[in-house]
Structure formats: structure tokens, C-alpha cells
């Protein structure tokens, strides 16, 4: 993955941070409080952790030329399962385990539809995107389930110097990087994305790989759902993870991974997820009026995407670069 392509998103991130610094001079200030770091940058990381986690799973799915729209619904289900279990007197650990097992089953379902039945990923996962929220609503009976459990609260709001949520996400990032970059797995994923049939003929088990990435993204969504509900100690079936699938896809695209499958960049995804959360926090701190928030976000996203576009980027570098035909930059509406 060319590092040059990540230059523009990185610059965009720096520009956003500097913009904050202009409006809020104390933006970069970090202080230790009750033994953990505290400040705007920490908030960005903590609130961005669920998006990052889902975007990581989404990167692998997109690399296989797939997409998973159901992650938001799966996140809502995870929160709903865990919170209702705790509200019924269950322990937090079993609650989280239950939620993740269910998410894995949901991932198996998505993977089954895509890899075995052969339904187009966008439609196959749309099923669960629509039905999933209904399942979450059934679990919570349409109520916001509020709980009070110190162990459960740690996942989304806890700290070990740094927020536990971001530590989890970074650990997963490290794990994925090791598993896909230090072994052949990453190459196999990419080959399935470039040409599933050719990969199969070459002896790659395309079906197993596709199935695996859908289970993985569902697990990521599950953990993200636990973070989201743990952050406010409540399961909100209606709003938890709402539109997070679009944020995750956007993070992947900003990170330079093509929606057409094939090569992917984990660093890019990390950058993309941080940009999206910084954008949201920027809107709050510099006081963009709520009426124009969406326009502000859209403008930033379109600038970042334009800077990366195959026809614009070389012109900006003022040096002829080989055209990269496989790169399509898609603008996904940011919430």
C-alpha cells in the first residue's frame, strides 16, 4: 500500500486538529485525573473506538469484494442482549459472552447467504440490517434498558490510563495486522477479492475465507455494540449504532481501500476512523450550528475523497503518476 496515498487523509486530519486548536487553545491539553488521561484527544479516541473496530472488520469484508450493511443492527443486538441479561440479574461476563456468541451466529448467517447461497453481499446483509433492529427492539421490548454494573461499564467508559475501548480496538488492529500481514491470510483475502473464481481454481478456499470475514466483522460489531451501550450504561435498540455502517464504510474508503475489492490498508482504515470521529468532535467544539452540521461534514469528506481521487491526486503532486484504474473513490454520505 503506497504511503503516498495516505498522505492526504493524514494532512486532512492534521488540518482538522489545527482548526480545533484555533477555536479551542486548550484542545491538545491532556491531564491525569483519577489515574487516567483526560482531554479532547482521549475523547476522540474513546468515541471513535466502536467505529474503528467495525471499520477493521469492514476492511476485510470489502477486500473480498463484499460489504456488510448489518453491522449497526448487530451492534444494537449485542447491546440489547448484554443489557437485558444484566437487567435480569445475570453476570456481566456471561452477558457479554452471550452477546458475542449471538453476533457470531449472525455473522455465520450473513456469510452463509453470501458465500453458500451466493446472494449479493449488499442485499444479503440488508436483510439483517432491517431485521436486526427489530430483533433488538424485541429483546428490549421497545424500552431503553438502563443498567448499573461497574464491570460492564468498563468496556465503553473504563480506563487503564487510556480508555479501555480504544485499547480493545487497537489490540484487534494489531491482531488483524499480524494475522493478515505476517501470514498468507491477507494475500488470500485480497486474491478472493480480485477474482474469487480464479482463487478457487488456484486452490484458495474462497468460500471459507468469505465466511470467516463475515463472522469476524459481526464479532467486531458485537464488541462495538457492547462499547456503545456500556458507554451510557443503557441499551437503546433504536439508536445504538445507527448509521455506523456508513461511517465504517466511509472510514475504509477514506483509508484508500477500494470498494471493488482486492488490496486493503489497515493503517488507512485507522486514519479514516480517527478522521470521522475528529470531524464529529470538531463540530461540537468549534460550535458549528446543528442546522449546517451535515453540510460541514459532507464538505470535509468530499475534500478528502477528491484529494485521493486517481485523477486529482497526481495533478496535485505535479508529477505524472501511473493511473490506478482499480481505484474508485466513492463518496458515502456521512451522518
Amino acid at each position: 500500500m503506497s504511503n503516498r496515498r495516505l498522505l492526504w487523509p493524514a494532512l486532512a486530519l492534521v488540518a482538522l486538529l489545527l482548526l480545533n486548536l484555533v477555536f479551542t487553545p486548550s484542545f491538545f491539553a491532556l491531564r491525569l485525573q483519577d489515574g487516567h488521561l483526560f482531554g479532547s484527544l482521549v475523547d476522540i479516541l474513546r468515541n471513535g473506538a466502536p467505529t474503528l473496530l467495525i471499520a477493521l472488520g469492514m476492511t476485510l469484508v470489502i477486500a473480498t469484494r463484499g460489504i456488510d450493511l448489518s453491522v449497526g443492527a448487530v451492534a444494537a443486538i449485542a447491546g440489547a442482549v448484554a443489557c437485558t441479561h444484566i437487567a435480569d440479574g445475570g453476570g456481566p461476563v456471561t452477558a457479554m459472552a452471550l452477546a458475542l456468541v449471538l453476533c457470531a451466529v449472525l455473522g455465520l448467517w450473513n456469510g452463509f447467504l453470501v458465500s453458500v447461497v451466493g446472494i449479493q453481499p449488499i442485499i444479503a446483509t440488508l436483510v439483517l440490517m432491517t431485521a436486526g433492529r427489530g430483533i433488538a427492539m424485541l429483546l428490549t421490548e421497545g424500552q431503553i434498558v438502563t443498567i448499573d454494573d461497574d464491570v460492564y461499564r468498563q468496556v465503553g467508559a473504563g480506563f487503564l490510563v487510556l480508555p479501555i475501548a480504544i485499547l480493545i480496538s487497537l489490540a484487534v488492529l494489531g491482531g488483524v495486522a499480524l494475522a493478515t500481514r505476517r501470514t498468507a491470510l491477507g494475500m488470500l483475502v485480497e486474491s478472493v477479492g480480485v477474482n474469487p473464481e480464479a482463487s478457487r481454481l488456484a486452490g484458495v478456499r474462497a468460500r471459507t475465507i468469505i465466511w470467516t470475514v463475515y463472522v469476524f466483522v459481526a464479532l467486531c460489531a458485537g464488541v462495538a455494540g457492547l462499547m456503545i451501550s456500556s458507554n451510557v450504561s443503557a441499551a437503546d435498540a433504536n439508536n445504538a449504532g445507527l448509521w455506523i455502517e456508513l461511517d465504517a464504510i466511509l472510514a475504509v474508503v477514506i483509508g484508500g481501500t477500494s470498494l471493488a475489492g482486492g488490496r486493503y490498508s489497515l493503517t488507512g482504515t485507522l486514519l479514516g476512523a480517527v478522521i470521522i470521529q475528529t470531524l464529529t468532535t470538531t463540530v461540537y467544539t468549534i460550535g458549528v450550528p446543528p442546522e449546517v452540521t451535515l453540510v460541514f461534514k459532507a464538505v470535509v469528506v468530499i475534500i478528502v475523497c477528491l484529494l485521493q481521487a486517481p485523477r486529482v491526486a497526481p495533478a496535485l503532486r505535479r508529477a505524472p503518476a501511473p493511473p490506478k484504474a482499480e481505484q474508485e473513490v466513492e463518496e458515502v454520505a456521512v451522518r
Binding site: 483526560f38 482531554g39 431503553i144 451510557v232 439508536n239 461540537y284 468549534i286 460550535g287 452540521t293
Partner: protein, 322 residues
């Protein structure tokens, strides 16, 4: 091109005429078998308030022997419009709905009007010049709620106050009106100033995230004014995480008075709650019966509401239904 438009327009006009005819007979048929059917398009289940509202309507319909067709729009206008259209097609006797946002309803309401189906707005108003599009609006006076919140602050504020506001969903009637009423009252006190105002989408996590950002960007916040309890509860989490004491270091005023909010009020973490009564099911059923019977109904029916201080919350909490 012009020709095409003309053809299209006349087709629409014809369809509308046909719809009028059918609507008349449909209404009569429903009257014959005696039961009234209401199509209700709910906003969603975005807060505890909303679920209490839904429950009240469902229970009141059952008690009144009215058939209720219920749909949940998940906070999206297009879903609600679709639901209303399907009620028009199903020829229900009355359509009731709580509009997600204030504007953009004229077309679909005109369709209902042409089908001779009366429309009752509940809880939230629409912003339209044509008041003939709906029979009546049953709900709270959000501007008054904003005023009540502002009055408490004006009475209890000693010295200058820096206020941050957590707005509801951008464009929603309660968000616009609660802001307006509050600003109107605090305008009498130049030392009370709203220093930051952002939307938290009426959700707990929205309230928490916005409040976190406010705590970093705006030093010395004295008061949080949240347009609903859930955002206030999110703000409490953020304030606690910042090492401050909600209710003491930073005062919190919210609107709604749902159970979780009242508990926080009784526990001293919220300072004042303006009630917004969701239990309007019975009133809605009464109005629906009158409308179907062809009786005159007032254009505006306001639900009964009160306010709660911390002491009042402790007394009221055991008897709260929601």
C-alpha cells in the same frame, strides 16, 4: 415537454377526484360496522418518553374498543410518510401521527384530505400554512415548557450563569420550541448566557458525546439545559467522568420527566424537570370518536403538565406510571 406536464397534471387531478369518491364511500362503510379504525404513525422508540406515549395510545385504544394500526417510523420522515400513505390506502377512519420534523407534510396530508380521512396531530405540530390539512393538534405546549425551564433558572440563579444547551433533533418541533421558550425568558437576565448549543438527537449517547466536547471547549459551565431527560442523563455521565458533581458543580435542567430522569432528579443529579406528559392516549381516543361522529373539535388541545423540583420528585416517584 409542456404537453407531458399537462398530461401528468390531469392524470393526477383525475386520480384525486377518484380518491375523493372512494373516500366518501369508504368512510360510510367503516361507520356501518361500528368500529373505528385509527392509523397511528409513531416517531419511533427513541426515548423512554416515547415508549410511554406508545403504550398509552395502545392501551387507550384497546379500552375504547378502537382498532389501532400502529407503525414505527424509526425517526425518519420518509418512513412516516410511507405509513400515512398506506393508511390512506387502507381507508382507516382517522389518521393520527407525531411528525418527526415540522415541515414537508403538505403533500401527504393533502392525499389524506382528498381521501376524506381526518388527521389528528399528536405531541408535535407541523409547520404548514394550510390548517385545514388536520382536524386538531393534541399535545404539549413546547414553548411553554421552555419558558418553565427558563423561569426556574431565572428565579434560582444567583449571579451570572453560563448555560450550555443540548438540543433535540434538528428541525423537530420540541427542539425548536423548547429553545425558543427558554431563550425568551432568560432574555430578561443579561447575565444568563447560552455559551454553546448543539444537537444531541434526544439520545443518551448523543447527550454524553456533546457534553464531553462542551466540557473541553467551554470552561466553567454553570448550567446544562437539555431538551429531554435522556440527553440530560448522558450529560450526567460526561460530567461525572470529568470529575465534577452533576447537580452541584453544574446544574441540570431537563424536560420530560420519564422515570430514569425522575430518579436522577430525586437523587440530586438533576435540579429541575419540566414535565411533558406522554399519557395522551385517552384524550386521543376521545378526539377520534368526536371527529368520526362529525362533531366540532377545538383546533388545539393542550395536555396537562406540571414541573418537578428535587423534593417534589421524591414525593411523586412512587406513583409514576412511566
Amino acid at each position: 415537454m409542456l404537453k407531458k406536464i399537462t398530461i401528468a397534471l390531469s392524470a393526477v387531478a383525475l386520480a384525486a377526484l377518484a380518491a375523493c369518491g372512494e373516500g366518501g364511500s369508504g368512510g360510510a362503510a367503516a361507520g356501518d360496522d361500528g368500529t373505528i379504525t385509527i392509523g397511528f404513525a409513531q416517531v419511533g422508540a427513541e426515548s423512554g418518553w416515547r415508549t410511554a406515549n406508545t403504550k398509552s395510545i395502545q392501551e387507550a385504544a384497546e379500552a375504547a374498543g378502537i382498532e389501532l394500526k400502529f407503525s414505527d417510523a424509526q425517526q425518519r420522515q420518509e418512513n412516516q410518510i410511507r405509513a400515512i400513505r398506506s393508511y390512506v390506502q387502507q381507508r382507516v377512519d382517522v389518521i393520527a401521527f407525531s411528525p418527526v420534523v415540522e415541515t414537508g407534510w403538505d403533500t401527504v396530508l393533502l392525499e389524506a384530505k382528498r381521501a376524506n380521512i381526518p388527521v389528528i396531530l399528536t405531541d408535535r405540530a407541523v409547520d404548514s400554512d394550510d390548517t385545514s390539512l388536520y382536524e386538531t393538534f393534541l399535545g404539549s405546549d413546547f414553548v411553554e415548557e421552555g419558558r418553565k425551564a427558563g423561569e426556574w433558572l431565572v428565579e434560582n440563579a444567583t449571579g451570572p450563569q453560563k448555560v450550555v444547551e443540548l438540543q433535540g433533533t434538528t428541525g423537530a418541533a420540541p427542539a425548536i420550541d423548547r429553545k425558543e421558550g427558554f431563550e425568551e425568558v432568560i432574555a430578561s437576565r443579561p447575565d444568563i448566557e447560552i455559551v454553546a448549543s448543539q444537537t444531541g438527537d434526544f439520545t443518551r449517547s448523543g447527550g454524553k458525546q456533546v457534553m464531553e466536547a462542551f466540557l473541553r471547549s467551554t470552561p466553567d459551565i454553570d448550567v446544562v439545559y437539555a431538551h429531554n431527560d435522556d440527553m440530560g442523563l448522558g450529560a450526567i455521565e460526561a460530567i461525572k467522568a470529568a470529575g465534577k458533581v452533576p447537580g452541584k458543580d453544574i446544574k441540570i435542567i431537563t424536560v420530560d420527566a420519564v422515570k430514569a430522569g425522575m430518579e436522577a432528579l430525586a437523587a440530586g443529579e438533576i435540579n429541575f424537570i419540566v414535565e411533558c406528559n406522554p399519557l395522551l392516549g385517552e384524550q386521543l381516543m376521545e378526539l377520534a370518536k368526536k371527529v368520526v361522529a362529525g362533531e366540532e373539535v377545538p383546533e388545539r388541545v393542550v395536555t396537562e403538565e406540571t414541573t418537578f423540583t428535587q423534593e417534589e420528585a421524591k414525593a411523586a416517584l412512587p406513583d409514576r406510571q412511566y
